[in-house]
């Protein structure tokens, strides 16, 4: 898939994803060792974006399983199309039940969900299991099975084994602690907030209209906010939002009023805004 770590960085950069050395190395290894990649980190640091970028540069199809509380086998693996089955049953009144049964549990009535889709695919596939921590513990057991053997058994149809293993990315926000067993299946990558230099490059790439000096100031202020003890620390997503806002306002330098008026773009909680304003010596809001 990739010839070297540099190859990973260069190709990801080509799609607009700027990878830190840690990200590039781990993606390279996951491809080389054929292991799923577990990406953990705060919201908005580019976990989902990474999986999309990998799919794009490897010309792979992206199959995404979005996890949420209550996601179950019928959403993750497959489901029978009951409505269609019923229609079929009522249509074929003169044939034997055995015949009907064989027929309605065939491919035609199967609704494949992301895990099955990814395992059966012939073409290169990136399987993104997004926000794994939101799913229930039971779901983890299922994932563990699928990621161990890369096969899925549909009792009525038999066992499907991947002819071509997908590149698997699991993301988690650590909302819930994932099990040790699942972690052990994966290579582990923690994406934290980027280094100053990398974040500057990300802003320059995504919001090119903002001047170099202003970009540097924006990144410094966000960095200072991250060192504070806030309820929700600003992420790359917030840095970009702020940069876009400043661009729209036509700002060319950062000053006290501007920061005060736009702090709400970076911080989401009122008490965070107040605390940050005090620490940054902004006049009372």
């Amino acid at each position: 898939m990739f010839t070297s770590v540099d190859d990973v960085s260069a190709r990801l950069a080509g799609t607009g994803y700027l990878a830190s050395p840690a990200v590039a190395t781990t993606v390279f290894l996951a491809a080389r060792l054929g292991k799923p990649l577990l990406v953990e980190g705060p919201a908005g640091v580019g976990k989902t974006e990474l999986a999309k970028a990998v799919a794009q540069v490897t010309a792979a199809r992206l199959v995404r399983l979005q996890c949420y509380e209550g996601v179950d086998e019928s959403r993750a693996l497959y489901e029978w199309n009951h409505a269609k089955q019923l229609l079929r049953i009522s249509a074929g009144r003169d044939e034997s039940w055995d015949e009907t049964r064989t027929d309605i549990f065939s491919e035609e009535f199967l609704l494949p969900r992301p895990l099955l889709t990814a395992i059966r695919g012939e073409e290169p596939t990136v399987l993104l299991i997004d926000e794994t921590d939101k799913a229930d513990v039971e779901m983890e057991g299922l994932l563990l099975e699928v990621l161990s053997d890369f096969q899925i058994t549909v009792p009525e149809l038999g066992t499907v084994t991947a002819t071509r293993r997908p590149f698997v990315v699991l993301t988690s926000n650590a909302g819930r602690e994932l099990s040790e067993a699942l972690r052990r299946r994966c290579l582990f990558l923690h994406i934290g907030f980027p280094e100053e230099e990398l974040e500057r490059r990300i802003v320059r790439l995504k919001v090119p209209g903002l001047g170099e000096a202003l970009t540097a100031s924006v990144v410094r202020v966000v960095g200072a906010l991250r060192a504070m003890d806030l309820r929700k620390l600003p992420s790359v997503a917030e840095t970009l939002d702020w940069a876009r806002t400043l661009l729209a306002l036509g700002a060319d330098t950062l000053d006290e009023n501007l920061v005060r008026d736009t702090l709400g773009v970076i911080l989401k909680h009122q008490d965070d805004i107040q605390k940050a304003a005090a620490k940054l010596d902004l006049d009372a809001l």
């Binding site: 050395p21 840690a22 190395t25 290894l29 060792l33 923690h190 100031s217 200072a224 950062l254 008490d271």
Partner: protein, 451 residues
């Protein structure tokens, strides 16, 4: 390549000695990672080994320090480096102003080499980070670096971000101190063997540091770990709750529901526990000796508060006061907690040292009603009463009223009962547990909290 295999094994063993769980599967993956990455770029190697050996973010600082010993930057000291202090300070000031990490690393090596050596006996470590920093005093470069950067930016008009400058420089100096620490360890390991140094001189992860000897940084780090730890515990408590709720079959409801299947009980109906959330009372010794421990525990319990019907927290030194309100939502600035408690609660009478007897007596007298048959009580403290009466009747009364009383003692078990410790006497009345580290605490909380 076998030399590399040895290093990977040594690295994994050192990490295991610090409590990281690494199986053979991980070491095999690590070896494959090294093969795929090659040895040319040390930073890629670092990331590759971290990705294969670790499973969570909490172990990364430990990993980095151990990695630096098994895959060192080089061997021996720098060649023909100027060793005098003033030249080093001048060059360090430049490196800090330019935020040049590579140069900072080189200067750390020169500084340890030039200023950090001591003792030539084979029994001594030979190199000291403390001595290096004490002689070099990087923290005193702040003003100079600031002036230098402002000068470069062309005068004071550098804009809003200029007010962040001091903190940024402090961070760089902190980073330099870390580099000096790593370099000194590397040099010591050359004398004493890396296996020994990786076990002895690398700081354990914060959750394995004794509360009673943790320094300020470690306590801050611990406080930062409260939220993730609380989430982990909440998951475990929820699992216990589910297990408890699954419990018994409700026969009457099973039969009733079986009417629809002609009286054949097809589906057993499980008895649902009434969702009554347990109540929790915390009595915390916040005197200097154990405040790190009680602060951390209070924050943890606060972060878990939605697991309970009610949580009340009391702090004491030799007087006792309720501090539940000071922990409340929105006020939870964890770093300021102990200062707030000290400022706003009445905790001491006419002297400043702990008196368990008086404090516990005050609790049963003034707040006895806070404890009922649904309440679990946690007492936090070292049970050192400064030779005054331990007031055992008060504890007996507490044990009688509460559903359960647990005493968490941050001292090692073998010190209980030494000097002025009344631990053994209390331990006869309520269950006392050794609770020296955050790791022990979370195991206790996961096991003892009522669900």
């Amino acid at each position: 390549m076998t030399a590399v295999a040895d290093r990977i094994t040594g690295l994994a063993a050192a990490l295991r000695a610090h409590g990281v769980r690494i199986g053979t599967g991980e070491t095999v993956d690590a070896a494959r990672a090294v093969e795929a990455l090659g040895l040319a770029d040390r930073e890629l190697l670092r990331e590759g080994l971290a990705a294969t050996l670790l499973h969570g973010p909490g172990q990364r600082a430990l990993f980095d320090a151990v990695f630096d010993l098994y895959f060192p930057r080089g061997i021996g000291g720098p060649e023909d480096a100027p060793r005098d202090r003033e030249t080093l300070r001048d060059r360090l000031a430049e490196a800090l102003a330019a935020d040049d990490r590579a140069l900072m690393a080189r200067l750390a090596a020169e500084a340890v080499d030039g200023l950090g050596g001591y003792g030539s006996s084979p029994a001594s470590d030979g190199w000291s980070a403390y001595q290096t920093l004490d002689r070099l005093r990087p923290q005193t470069l702040l003003a100079r670096v600031r002036a230098d950067i402002r000068g470069r930016a062309g005068g004071p008009g550098a804009g809003f971000a200029d007010r962040l400058l001091d903190d940024e420089i402090r961070h760089r100096i902190e980073e330099f101190r870390r580099l000096v620490g790593a370099e000194a360890r590397r040099r010591v390991a050359e004398r004493r063997g890396r296996d020994e140094i990786a076990r002895r001189a690398v700081r354990p992860t914060a959750d394995r540091v004794d509360f009673l000897i943790a320094d300020r940084d470690q306590l801050t780090e611990l406080r930062r770990a409260v939220q993730p730890l609380a989430r982990k515990l909440a998951t475990r408590l929820a699992a216990r709750r589910r297990r408890a709720a699954r419990g018994t079959i409700d026969l009457r409801r099973t039969l009733r529901s079986s009417l629809s299947t002609g009286g054949v009980p097809m589906r057993p109906v499980l008895r649902r526990r009434r969702p009554v959330r347990p109540e929790l009372v915390l009595l915390c010794d916040v005197s200097g000796s154990v405040s790190g421990f009680s602060d951390f525990t209070m924050l943890l319990v606060q972060a878990l508060h939605d697991q309970f019907g009610k949580v009340r927290v009391f702090a004491f030194v030799n007087r006792l006061d309720e501090v539940t309100g000071l922990l409340g939502h929105g006020r939870a600035d964890p770093d300021g907690l102990s200062a707030r408690i000290r400022a706003e609660a009445v905790l001491t009478g006419w002297h400043g040292s702990s008196d368990y007897g008086v404090a516990l007596g005050e609790f049963t007298e003034r707040y006895g009603a806070a404890v009922g048959p649904r309440t679990t009580v946690f007492v936090l403290g070292d049970a050192r009463t400064n030779m005054s009466d331990p007031n055992l009747p008060a504890v007996r009364e507490l044990a009688r009223r509460a559903r359960r009383v647990h005493w968490l003692n941050p001292e090692p078990r073998d010190r209980w009962g030494t000097g002025d410790s009344a631990a053994p006497a209390y331990a006869e009345l309520v269950r006392m547990h050794e609770c020296r580290t955050a790791r022990q605490l979370s195991a206790l909380v996961a096991g003892l909290l009522p669900v």
